[in-house]
């Protein structure tokens, strides 16, 4: 099956990002396709390159990057939510006059249409949040 996953909360604050990650991994192991992982609300904070979690704890951002790269998964941060919360890639930095970028590898910033498209094109939409 083709799955789209929506994640509404940031790393560490809520368990959603963790549950979504293990769900995604299990789905891939079972041979399902992940059409897109769409990060909304504070979920866009999963896409910052700048976290330094304690060494003895999981690195949520890196875990997403590794999963995306290993399985060629499209991971999208909603542009409106990202602008509100300060997640910036090169395009956004240029457009909005920011002096830095902070997006982690494997993520891209795009519009809410990507979430809707996920709903249209996938067999299942699963939402993780608070």
């Amino acid at each position: 099956m083709k799955l789209t996953i929506q994640i509404n909360e940031g790393p560490y604050q809520h368990q959603s990002a963790d549950t979504a990650y293990f769900f995604a991994k299990a789905a891939l192991e079972k041979g399902h396709e992940i059409f897109r992982i769409f990060f909304y609300h504070d979920g866009v904070n999963n896409g910052t390159r700048l976290t330094t979690p304690p060494q003895d704890d999981r690195n949520i951002v890196n875990r997403w990057t590794e999963l995306a790269q290993a399985h060629n998964i499209d991971m999208v941060l909603c542009v409106a939510a990202a602008q509100r919360r300060g997640l910036v890639d090169d395009g956004e930095a240029q457009r909005n006059g920011k002096d830095a970028t902070n997006i982690a590898p494997g993520f891209r910033i795009s519009g809410l249409g990507q979430l809707i498209e996920g709903g249209v094109q996938s067999d299942r939409l699963i939402v993780f949040g608070d």
Partner: protein, 98 residues
């Protein structure tokens, strides 16, 4: 057409489990995850909410919270993330009671 209902909050913290139980139809499946697993405990005030429902609970979340299976209501399926995926596939759609 059956629905998979996800509840991730304790029934003592929020009304999600309560509302979900009033929306569930025959054939629907409830999966308790994260803090929602507390809803599966027997001898508890929330136990009656699950009467008559098809209920599964995520094992890793139980273990994390120190809830052993002998503390659960009768008839609850303890599953892993693979089982979670299977439930998503087996049901037509997913309602996350956030």
């Amino acid at each position: 057409m059956a629905m998979l209902h996800l509840v991730n909050k304790s029934p003592y913290d929020a009304c999600n489990l309560n509302t979900a139980s009033t929306i569930m139809k025959d054939g629907d499946q409830l999966l308790l995850i994260e803090d929602g697993v507390y809803g599966a405990m027997k001898n508890s005030k929330a136990a009656s909410l699950l009467t008559g429902l098809k209920v599964a609970v995520l094992g890793p979340d139980l273990a994390a919270r120190g809830i052993t299976e002998d503390k659960l209501l009768e008839g609850i399926d303890v599953i892993d993330y693979g089982g979670f995926v299977d439930l998503v596939v087996a049901n037509d759609k997913v309602q996350s009671w956030l």
